[in-house]
């Protein structure tokens, strides 16, 4: 069992959780993820480390409530435990010798962008973070980013905070100005796809952090197959980071939808008996 030591609500549907897991905390690196099961009947779901402390023996992750498991998690509190947490999984994000880099975090992708931007800055890169959300209330981790040695540009779809634009607008400007040598995009598949398309014409190498459906997270099942440069790769062990210009995003998005019906059914049934309605 993995005791929960921290919870914080970041927006209506986005939560931060900290768990005591000293073994994992010693090893976690930016861009890696964990797989957890909330309870004994639980699904194995992957979530990226948003922060960790090797000294204090905890790890943190940030999740958006989108279905049954994240719904369950949203109700857990300090003192509760998770049945399983395993990791760190996946290849850490490459952070060395990047020069001038733009890190794009869209929606809950900001959670992943945070440790990545921090690690890149620590490794000496000149980092511009583009933080995007639909509206001000959904923007997360703003203070945390402001505390990093990075330039921060905020955009929202409705202009309620920062520039009224999609994340691709500032990204394109940076490309046009020749102000970046590398880009990293983290967020919904569709956002990563458009970021990659934006940078392609400028020849700016672009890394994306993919989120295919996973089961074991150790290369055993192939649920996480993605096509990159015409080749099948396993997201969990070959990734989650890939060359954004080579990823087949249409396939990724299609594969993410495979269980939509079942997922709705599971969450609807769970919600009927759930505390939200008390």
């Amino acid at each position: 069992m993995f005791p929960i030591v921290h919870t914080r609500r970041l927006s209506d549907a986005v939560f931060e959780m900290g768990v005591e897991a000293p073994r994992i905390a010693r090893k976690a690196r930016a861009g890696q993820f964990l797989i957890l099961r909330a309870d004994e009947a639980g699904e194995r779901i992957p979530l990226t480390f948003s922060d960790w402390s090797a000294e204090e023996g905890w790890i943190r992750f940030i999740f958006m409530q989108v279905g049954k498991t994240t719904h369950k998690l949203s109700h857990l509190e300090v003192g509760d435990s998770l049945a399983d947490v395993v990791g760190p999984l996946g290849v850490p994000t490459y952070t060395d010798d990047l020069g001038r880099v733009a890190v794009v975090g869209g929606g809950v992708g900001a959670a992943v962008a945070y440790p990545v931007a921090r690690a890149m800055a620590e490794a000496g890169a000149e980092v511009t973070v583009i933080l995007g959300a639909r509206t001000a209330d959904l923007l997360i981790l703003r203070e945390e980013f402001e505390a990093l040695p990075v330039r921060l540009q905020i955009v929202t779809d409705d202009g309620s905070v920062g520039e009224k634009a999609l994340v691709t607008a500032p990204l394109k400007r940076l490309c046009e100005e020749g102000a970046i040598d590398h880009a990293m995009a983290i967020g919904p598949a569709i956002m990563m796809k458009f970021c990659a398309e934006t940078t392609r014409e400028f020849g700016v190498p672009t890394t994306v952090s993919l989120n295919p459906i996973m089961v074991d997270g150790t290369g055993m099942c192939g649920a996480c197959r993605v096509t990159v440069g015409g080749e099948t790769k396993f997201g969990c062990v070959d990734g989650p980071d890939f060359d954004g210009h080579a990823v087949d995003f249409e396939e990724l998005m299609s594969r993410q939808r495979v269980y939509n019906e079942e997922e709705r059914e599971a969450d609807a049934e769970y919600a009927r008996g759930c505390r939200c309605h008390e």
Binding site: R23, K27, R44, D216, M220, G222, R225, T232
Partner: protein
């Protein structure tokens, strides 16, 4: 004791072997069992087991023993069964095989001990596997009442780490513990048992049997750490260094699924057998939405392959409610590597066999599978495996309508192992190279099971684990 009283001869009275036919093992009717995940064969009763044991003629040169990969003294355990001394029979069995209830269910006895049984020359061999299964269950029933935890030798003060809790790791752990060592198993999944838990379905190997065997290890003092990936959570160096283990056994299995590399393979509805079986067995997707993990409940399911894994996937699909399940295999039924019994069970339950078909493409609409295109094959000259190689019939393409495709054409070594220990010597195909005792090129590091041999059998993995355990014990003692 009657033997003493019988005086001069002091020979055990020779039993009069029964000439009766091989005793059939009761099974649940195909129509009933294809609806649920309960076990298919029901096992012998004591009377059946005894009657079958009585068929053994107690050969002077019992050829059966050589047929067994771990050389169980089959003749002797059957002799004890004839005498109805079942605890003694169990002891003989357990000298070589720590998990008889499991092996009695999943070993391919028909091509190991039974095929070389003397009786097989003229008729039907002794049903050695069924006897083993009955004894294993007999033993488990006792254990559940709190008996027969194997005697553990005085503590040696040495510590061994086992990577992976499949049959290789379990057997290695059990033997090392018995020899008095402190043993910790590290398992990357949240559950123990390896393929026994996530791969082989419950209708062939009920989970509580695997759990009971693992409980026994716990009772012997073996510590089990789940959610620990060696190569990620710990490296091999850390186990041997700061974690303080004297030796490590790697029994990580060959879990990386192989795909066909044909167009359409990443469509929704295409699974590796590993994913399909893991979702159902380990994650209990058949209880969805009660259990949280979903799986596609295909109406028409095509399974590609001809081994045990393919049979398990096909029979699982039936149990999930498929109307039609096709088994698509390149050769013919005679060449299928699956156990005959499983092929027979699958056919009985309604799996349709499409032999001499080789898939060339998977078709789809809006991202989901709609069919499988295959070529017809015919058998040509024997290849290096001695089996007649299938050759493609030109222009024979045809389509099988289906909404789910399960690929069961084999597995390979998981490259995570290399990450665990970069210095480890591997074969060109990524398996760990070892000597006869399972020793690798790294001092104190041993390996066995599928990660050394490639996908093989439960009993071979167990045999390798046990053999390594003895070598590891010697190594630790010598090093002091």
């Amino acid at each position: 004791m009657s033997r003493v009283e019988s005086g001069a001869g002091a020979e055990k009275p020779r039993h009069k072997p029964s000439r009766g036919p091989r005793v059939a093992m009761p099974e649940r009717p195909a129509a009933e069992r294809a609806q649920d995940f309960d076990e298919v064969p029901l096992g012998y009763t004591e009377e059946m087991a005894h009657a079958e044991a009585m068929r053994c003629i107690q050969c002077k040169n019992p050829t059966c023993i050589d047929g067994c990969p771990v050389n169980i003294d089959i003749k002797s355990f059957i002799a004890h069964m004839i005498d109805r001394d079942y605890p003694a029979a169990v002891s003989v069995l357990k000298e070589r095989n720590a998990l008889p209830a499991i092996c009695g269910r999943v070993c391919p006895q028909e091509e190991q001990c039974e095929i070389v049984c003397v009786l097989a020359r003229k008729g039907e061999p002794v049903a050695i596997g069924r006897l083993e299964r009955w004894l294993g269950d007999y033993d488990l029933a006792c254990e559940l009442e709190g008996r027969c935890v194997p005697e553990v030798a005085p503590a040696t003060g040495m510590r061994a780490a086992i990577v992976g809790s499949g049959p290789a790791g379990l057997a290695c752990a059990g033997e090392l513990a018995r020899l008095g060592n402190a043993v910790t198993i590290f398992e990357s999944l949240h559950a123990t048992g390896g393929v026994l838990t996530y791969g082989i379905p419950e209708f062939r190997l009920p989970l509580d049997i695997v759990e009971a065997e693992i409980d026994l290890l716990a009772q012997m003092g073996v510590e089990i750490v789940t959610d620990a990936v060696i190569g990620a959570t710990y490296t091999l160096d850390e186990l041997l260094g700061e974690e303080g283990f004297d030796t490590v056994f790697i029994g990580a299995g060959a879990g990386l699924p192989v795909f066909l590399g044909i167009p359409g393979e990443n469509l929704n509805g295409v699974y590796s057998a590993n994913e399909y079986l893991t979702r159902v067995n380990l994650m209990r997707a058949y209880e969805f939405p009660h259990a949280d993990t979903p799986v596609a409940r295909g109406r028409k399911v095509a399974v590609v392959g001809g081994g045990n894994v393919a049979m398990d996937a096909a029979r699982t699909a039936l149990r999930l409610g498929a109307e039609e399940v096709f088994l698509v295999y390149r050769r013919t039924e005679d060449e299928m590597p699956a156990r005959k019994e499983e092929v027979h069970h699958a056919a009985e339950e309604g799996v349709a066999f499409k032999m001499l078909c080789s898939p060339v493409e998977i078709l789809g609409r809006e991202g989901f599978v709609t069919g499988l295109v295959a070529n017809r094959m015919e058998l040509g000259e024997p290849d290096e495996s001695g089996r007649r190689a299938p050759v493609c019939v030109m222009g024979s393409e045809f389509e099988i309508e289906c909404d789910t495709v399960i690929i069961a054409v084999g597995t390979r070594a998981n490259p995570l192992v290399l990450q665990a220990a970069p210095g480890l010597e591997l074969s060109s195909r990524g398996y760990i190279l070892t000597d006869d005792d399972g020793a690798t090129n790294l001092p104190g590091v041993y390996a066995g099971g599928d990660i050394v041999t490639g996908a093989a059998t439960v009993i071979e993995a167990m045999g390798a684990g046990k053999k390594s355990a003895r070598a590891m014990d010697r190594w630790m003692r010598e090093r002091g």
